[in-house]
């Protein structure tokens, strides 16, 4: 990865973070914390990894992305807007009556959304079904699913892992956003799902652990996933909930709460400074 490519991804991630803050502020509700923790991943997926076409969102051979942790729709929407699936101004309609941007993703309303999600644990099963179907159809596309680390407390997630391993779905890549927080607190305090990577390995997935804010590690992990035959790949990425906005970082309270006007101003000031710093590089 060249410094320029890395910088482009960093700029994209900062703009996605601005979209998350602007849209949840405008909606006066929504889920900024987990959107921000995955913002770097959203940037990488939509700027580099996914073979998708904003001009033809329903293109049959596109890669599929399922946001299994559907409550972080603000992050997905900001990435889709950045990639040109719909105008960025539309982000400000999030959660409003008549908006295409529902509180949780709806595949029939929003261009670029491959599956309606929101009820935790189901998206990863859907992604496995997509990967299984793609193999049957002889399609060369890949399927990606993003899970929350709290989400993996749902038993269905592990049913999906069994299916993905049994049918050798090496076209499937599941990513766990390990920001260590869920609504009620630290995941280890609520109901301990650790050790996450060991569990995924035990279910037969090729498992890679990375720093979820490091694009070079992300690039290597996705390359490894593409090169791995016979088994699905899991990428466990260590992240920080609320990343990029100082007062939101590592705070469970920002799971499902929107910034007020003052908090919005502060967040945008911080994100603008990050962008300026990147541009000066």
């Amino acid at each position: 990865m060249t410094p320029d490519e890395k910088k482009r991804l960093q700029v994209a991630a900062a703009r996605i973070r601005e979209g998350i803050i602007s849209s949840t502020h405008a909606a006066k509700c929504g889920h900024p914390g987990g959107s921000l923790s995955a913002a770097d991943l959203f940037a990488y997926l939509y700027c580099r990894e996914l073979n998708v076409d904003p001009e033809n969102p329903a293109w049959d051979d596109r890669d599929r992305f399922v946001l299994s942790k559907g409550h972080t729709a603000p992050g997905l929407y900001a990435a889709l807007a950045l990639r040109g699936f719909f105008p960025e101004e539309e982000l400000l309609t999030l959660r409003r009556i008549g908006s295409r941007l529902q509180g949780h993703p709806n595949m029939n309303e929003t261009p670029g959304v491959d599956m309606s999600t929101g009820s935790l644990g189901q998206g990863v099963s859907v992604a496995a079904g997509m990967a299984l179907a793609a193999k049957y159809q002889g399609k060369r596309c890949r399927v990606y699913a993003l899970l929350g680390d709290g989400e993996i407390e749902e038993g269905q997630v592990w049913e999906a892992m069994m299916l993905a391993h049994h049918y050798k779905l090496d076209n499937l890549c599941v990513i766990v956003d390990n920001n260590d927080l869920q609504i009620d607190g630290r995941i280890g305090d609520v109901i301990d799902p650790y050790p996450i990577a060991d569990k995924l390995k035990a279910f037969g997935l090729h498992t890679v652990e990375i720093d979820g804010s490091d694009f070079e590690q992300m690039e290597a992990a996705f390359a490894e996933a593409r090169a791995t035959g016979g088994v699905p790949t899991a990428i466990v990425m260590k992240t920080t909930k609320g990343k990029g906005v100082s007062y939101m970082e590592d705070q469970a309270g920002w799971h499902g709460k929107a910034p007020n006007d003052d908090e919005y101003a502060q967040a945008m000031t911080e994100l603008n400074a990050q962008l300026k710093e990147l541009e000066a590089m």
């Binding site: 309606s116 099963s125 997509m130 049913e159 999906a160 069994m162 049918y167």
Partner: protein
Amino acid sequence: MADVKKIATRDSYGSTLIELGRAHDDLIVFDADLAGATKTSLFKKAFPDRHFNCGIAEGNMMAAAAGAAAMGLVPFASTFAMFAAGRAFEQVRNSIGYPHLNVKIGATHGGISVGEDGASHQCCEDFALMRSIPGMVVMCPADDAEARAAVKAAYAYRGPVYLRFGRLATPVFHEQEPDFQIGRGEVLLNGGDVAILATGLMAYEALQAGAALREKGVSARVINLCTIKPLDEELVLRAARECGRVITCEEHSVIGGLGEAVCSLLSEKLPTPVRRIGVNDEYGHSGPAVELLKQFGLSAKHIVDVALAFCK
């Protein structure tokens, strides 16, 4: 009676899947460790590469089927009604119903005619659960011929469909596959004193009841409603208008099924006295299916008794 051919609609389901599978390579089948019982094992034998056993994980199976449908395939996902509609309700609602994906749910072992396995496996709530999902088609074929036609219609229809089949071999009273349309009922017997509306295995019982009532001087109109949702409103309203009394018959709780669908329609558009025959807000129990059906009043004899008292 003895010479009437009997076939379980789950067998009709399995063999029709093969017929459809030969003609359409976009049809695939999911099962949850019950392929022998749901009869998708027949499809597996014919098309081993198109049958995907998901193991004992019904919620995962329903969501995986949704994923396959999102890729353009037409998945039939099968397990017992209890687990398809009950255990996996929320997956069906959120991953199949809400995105209106083209998944066909083939639910076998519906109702108390499951028999000896008892209440834990006798699902009498599936119509209620599946009817409550917007956009879901709910069907319960009456015999082998209608089951074959319904499975084909479900394949041809674009959108989610719930099909309920039975474990028990039941009489085949259609001479051939009926001219079947989703949402359209079928008049089995004409009459003007009372309308008997039935679904599933109760259609044959209603037909027998209609013949017995005729001998007692009561003219019953017997209607088979394979599609519970969307209901054939025109046919039901006409029967209510012309007969003035309606009896509903289903192997399902009287709560939330055909009876309540008919009552909702009639109370709003044409208030008409109704008697609901079904499972009366109770659980089933173990026993031979035929005996259980009699005990729970799911029989021609009970329909006759209700109709005679109703028409007094």
